[in-house]
Amino acid sequence: MLRFLPCRVFRVQYVFVLEQVLNGLLVGAYYLLIALGLSLIFALGGIVNLAHGGFYAIGAYLAVILTNRMGFFGALIASPVIVGCFGILIERFLFRRFYRSDPILSLLLTFGLAMVIEQGLRIVFGATPLPFSIPSELRGQLLVGDFIYPRYRLFIFGVALAAVAATWFIVYRTTFGRVVRAGVQNPDIVGSLGISLAPYMTAIAALGVGLAGLAGVLLAPIAGVHPAMGAEILTAAFVVVVIGGLGSFWGVIAAAALVGVVRGITIYFNPSWGEASMYLLMAVVLLVRPRGLLGERIEKFE
């Protein structure tokens, strides 16, 4: 019996580490949803949307309201769509004024917008967190060998991956996406081919913001629905974006995975350092690769 003990202890530890890594990847997945939207809006319009966290919060609040009327899965579809509509309005009336101005002004604008959204949510819903629980169909755990994992988290992971895959498909496999990528490279030439980029920029803003809203719905049961939730997740999303490089699709994906895994492993060894770990990771990346993992050099914003 004594002979087997070390092996069994080792295997149990291995499972814990794996669980934390998976947790980390999951966290990375929903950071990715937000970071991807940020990156898309920036790549095409050149605006860093500091209000992105606000749309994430709006998505969560909408989930709470809509679930009462149409169930969780209904809210899962409807909430991002409604948030996307907000994105259309914001792009049309605010962002568009700032495409050609000093990037600092658009930073200030979106920062103010974030403030307004957070306070607005506080006015409408109050400062205390709204109760919102995991829908009954998705509760419980999944057992795979020695491995126990909450079903809802796997659901989030799946939906997030599906959303990222769908975004990838849209950007890389559709004509719409081709126009967007062409517009990122050379908006003048796109214009000379008779294509007006304005509606595409609106659509991308809606898509980016909608992804944030989706993340809000998914995380509402776990993170707790309160007005300041946007600010909390936004800094993490920015860390991902800075590490991956603003405007780089694959860089952001790699960075999200990296941030998530590092966070997971750090939490395994010392739980209170989890959050700090990603900031330290960013510091290290910046020292070694100032432009981010795969970042493109966009002079205007350096």
């Binding site: 974030a114 607005g120 126009v179 796109v190 350096e302």
Partner: protein
């Protein structure tokens, strides 16, 4: 506002009046102290935001850290004291700022702001969780105020006057700082960081100084605040608080000295009063903030200035150039000369190689510039002169080869180091500190050489030697009388002179001038050319120019480049009389493919009518009353030397560049002012220089995009089958990413993409560039056949091809049409060609 002591007087008066004023509206003394503390914090933050142009979303961190440092040091190390913890807090924050600044300032602009955001979030997370040390959520209480010099500071009344005194001291310090050399450099960095480096400032060092000073001042505010409330918490470290600080600065006015303080006052009043009516005052404050960003980015001070403008008498510096007191060309101020003791070559480049991607822009490049000579670098479009020039001046590092300045290698140095080594460089596209005055522009360049350039206490006005040198140089440049005019208000010619002046002010061993005469009127060209010639008798000059007549008249030595390498290197006469040089400019008249007579299809009905269009790039007047027309089935060749405006003309036709005046009518419909997408849909197809294919997308993708929005209209629409029939080579390349194709194939795709949609007139910008003879022949035949369907305008420097293909030719020189006639005249008559295109 900083020119006199009025800000200090305003601050002193306000500090005295504040507690009484707030008392009148029912606010306690503690609120007055809050106002002063926030005002100090905002003014500290504004060193970065308003002065240097660096937006920090994390400055609350220094406020909170200062507070914690004071509270904790009082608790553990200096119980019962107030001054020691305060001093400790400042030192602690300053050290932290140095460390974090060194890391964060590696990035600029948006990335810098995001990093400051992350910094404060990190510090907030740590202080919130580290409960044993910082008290976490409940914070640190029992902070006491001591008795200093017999005055008991526990009384709020006494404490206020201490706070006011500290604030006055900080204001005085800031007043001196903003007027000092370091302060002026921070403003220069905000206006144009690249140029600041090219006049010799190591900008990162200056930014670090500003960052640390700013953090230290904000920490002072945090210290004042922690002793005010006797309580330290993690709240100032939150992102929300940093956001409030930024909002105060923006709403107050970030471009004014006292604006941020005004913003702090506004914030406190707003908070106190609105919170009486509604708990959601921060929401309305946020709306106000957005309103200011959108409608008045200069804040309350900006609004105030606009309101006061009719009342205040403002000195209007008249249309700048009118105020000039020009003198004849004087001799160069001796302060700008450096001795070249060893009689070495001023600049020598050996075997330079530079490639971008797979293109060898410059190869086997040798150049020697002798002291006190005027050396010109010329060559046709695509010859590589700009790249060579950029390598020599330090903008790019060479892949191989050496660049030596009086025997010392300068290859690959940073801009500020190359400038200090002695390379003074002017820029083709205006690269000045446009928001600053003429005098300040020059003074900054001279200050970069001075040993006072790191001074933070003395004012720049008191540095009389720098002022004298500045005045001297301004007189020399012929800009006397308009020193106080803003650089942006000068005429284009004036700006080019100022640009040259900046390079000159760095006391260069060699002056590198990038197209100094481009875009200038004839009289100005004369004057500046004379100036350049005069300077070159004391300081060697290397210049790149397209105005070849003038170059041959003034240059001592000429290097002609073609296809990335040196073609001819000798005196001006050598180059002028050299057959090879002439050939690259006017063609040799022997291209076989162009010799055969072409069938004419031109009709008389007008397709495109261009009437006196004028296009500008910034202030540069590129197109000058250009008029011509294009008839159906006609091919027009658009010729002229570089810088003549040919590409700009094509861009004006397709709407990428917008003409300021004039009219362009396509099929009798006006197109000036329409967005390029609309113009393209009406029937103008465009194949840009460099092809403009979309990287990462296949040939098929590019064609799909070409066709997407142009399926309607009366012009031709090439189907995929037609495209493959005309360009069979593309069939096997259909699914290859466009950036992997050869040059010729790319050109075919670019043409096909343009023709895939509605085209009545096709614009081609340098279609034969970089192509092999076989592909050139193929394309030539395609264009020739195209005339049966549409009209074409073709710009190309392969003159024989362009003349052989076209029915008529329009020649542009410096933005104006100088010749318009039948192409065969130019094709067959080499003398006429020489007259029209050469000199």
């Amino acid at each position: 506002m900083l020119n006199n002591r009025s800000p200090l007087i305003i601050v002193a008066v306000s500090l005295v009046a504040l507690p009484f004023a707030l008392d009148l509206v029912g606010l306690p003394l503690r609120s007055s102290i809050d106002v002063v503390a926030f005002a100090v914090a905002c003014m500290g933050l504004n060193i970065l935001v308003g002065n240097t142009g660096l937006v920090s979303f994390g400055h609350g961190a220094w406020f909170g850290l200062g507070a914690y440092a004071a509270a904790l040091s009082q608790r553990y190390w200096f119980p019962g004291s107030i001054t020691l913890p305060a001093l400790f807090a400042i030192v602690f924050v300053a050290v932290s700022a140095v460390l974090s600044g060194a890391l964060i300032l590696r990035r600029r602009g948006v990335y810098f702001s995001l990093l400051t955001l992350a910094l404060t979030a990190l510090l907030f997370a740590i202080s919130y969780r580290w409960t044993e040390f910082t008290g976490g959520e409940s914070g640190l209480g029992s902070v006491t105020r001591a008795t200093v010099l017999g005055v008991d500071l526990e009384r709020d009344g006494n404490y206020y006057w201490v706070v006011a005194g500290v604030a006055m001291g900080v204001c005085f310090l800031l007043w001196r700082f903003h007027r000092s050399p370091v302060g002026s450099v921070l403003v220069a960095i905000r206006e144009n960081e690249q140029r600041a480096r090219f006049i010799g400032y190591p900008t990162n060092r200056y930014k670090l100084i500003g960052f640390v000073l700013s953090a230290a001042i904000v920490s002072v505010a945090g210290t004042l605040s922690v002793f005010n409330h006797r309580f330290a918490s993690a709240e100032p470290l939150s992102v929300a608080f940093s956001g409030e600080l930024i909002a105060m600065v923006v709403i107050g006015g970030m471009r004014s000295f006292l604006g941020p303080a005004l913003g702090a006052l506004f914030f406190i009043l707003f908070r106190e009063f609105l919170s009486m009516w509604t708990p959601h005052w921060l929401f309305y404050f946020g709306l106000l903030f957005i309103g200011f960003v959108v409608f008045s980015p200069t804040g309350l001070v900006g609004v105030g200035e606009r309101l006061l403008a009719p009342i205040r008498k403002r000195e209007i510096t008249a249309a700048a150039m009118a105020g000039r007191k020009t003198a004849d060309v004087l001799s160069l101020p001796p302060s700008l000369l450096r001795a070249n003791e060893n009689d070495l070559l001023a600049l020598s480049a050996r075997n330079l190689q530079k490639s971008f991607g797979g293109i060898h822009a410059v190869h086997d490049f040798d150049l020697s510039v002798r002291d006190k000579t005027l050396h010109a670098l010329i060559g046709p479009n695509g010859a590589g002169k700009t790249t060579a020039f950029n390598v020599l001046s330090g903008l790019y590092a060479p892949d191989a080869g050496s660049v030596e300045l009086e025997g010392i290698s300068i290859a690959g140095l940073k801009p500020e180091d190359i400038t200090r080594a002695g390379v003074g460089r002017s820029f083709q596209i205006t690269n000045l500190f446009v928001g600053l005055s003429v005098e300040e522009n020059i003074r900054l360049a001279i200050q970069a050489r001075s040993h006072m350039r790191y001074a933070t206490w003395r004012s720049t006005a008191s540095l009389t030697d720098i002022q004298a040198e500045t005045a001297e140089l301004i007189r020399y440049l012929g800009l006397a009388g308009i020193e106080t005019a803003e650089a942006s208000s000068l005429s284009y010619g004036g700006q080019r002179v100022l640009d040259m002046g900046l390079a000159l002010a760095t006391q260069p061993r060699i002056l590198l001038l990038d197209e100094p005469l481009a875009g200038l009127a004839v009289a100005e060209r004369e004057r500046i050319a004379k100036l350049i010639k005069a300077i070159s008798s004391e300081i060697p000059i290397l210049l790149v120019e397209h105005d070849i007549d003038r170059v041959f008249r003034i240059a001592d030595h000429v290097t002609v480049m073609n296809d990335g390498a040196v073609l001819v290197d000798g005196s001006a006469d050598d180059a002028r009389n050299n057959d090879k040089v002439r050939a690259i400019y006017i063609g040799s008249g022997t291209a076989a493919v162009a010799m055969q007579p072409r069938a004419e299809f031109a009709r008389s009905d007008q397709l495109l009518a261009v009437d006196r269009i004028n296009t500008y790039y910034g202030k540069s007047h590129i197109l000058n009353d250009v008029s011509f027309d294009v008839r159906k089935h006609e091919i027009i060749a658009l010729l002229g030397r570089n810088g003549a405006g040919k590409s700009t003309l094509l861009k004006s036709l397709v709407g990428i560049a917008r003409p300021e005046a004039g009219s362009i009518r396509l099929l009798d419909q006006e197109t000036v002012g329409l967005p390029s997408a609309v113009i393209a849909r009406r029937g103008i197809g465009y194949v840009p220089q460099g092809r403009g294919l979309f990287a990462g997308m296949t040939v098929a993708d590019n064609l799909v995009l070409g066709r997407l929005k142009r399926t309607t209209g009366d012009g031709i629409h090439w189907s995929d089958e037609r495209i493959v029939a005309i360009f069979p080579r593309l069939a096997e390349r259909w699914d290859t990413p466009a950036d992997y194709l050869s040059g010729g194939e790319q050109q075919m795709v670019a043409v096909a993409r343009a023709l895939a949609g509605n085209v009545q007139v096709l614009l081609l910008d340098e279609p034969f560039e970089g192509l092999s003879p076989v592909v050139t022949q193929e394309l030539f035949e395609v264009f020739d056949r195209l005339r049966q369907e549409i009209a074409l305008i073709i710009v190309d420097h392969h003159l024989d091809l362009a003349l052989g293909l076209s029915d008529r030719t329009v020649v542009l020189e410096r933005g104006a049409v100088t010749w318009n006639g039948v192409s065969t005249l130019l094709k067959d008559d080499l003398d006429l060609r020489r007259k029209v295109l050469w000199l």
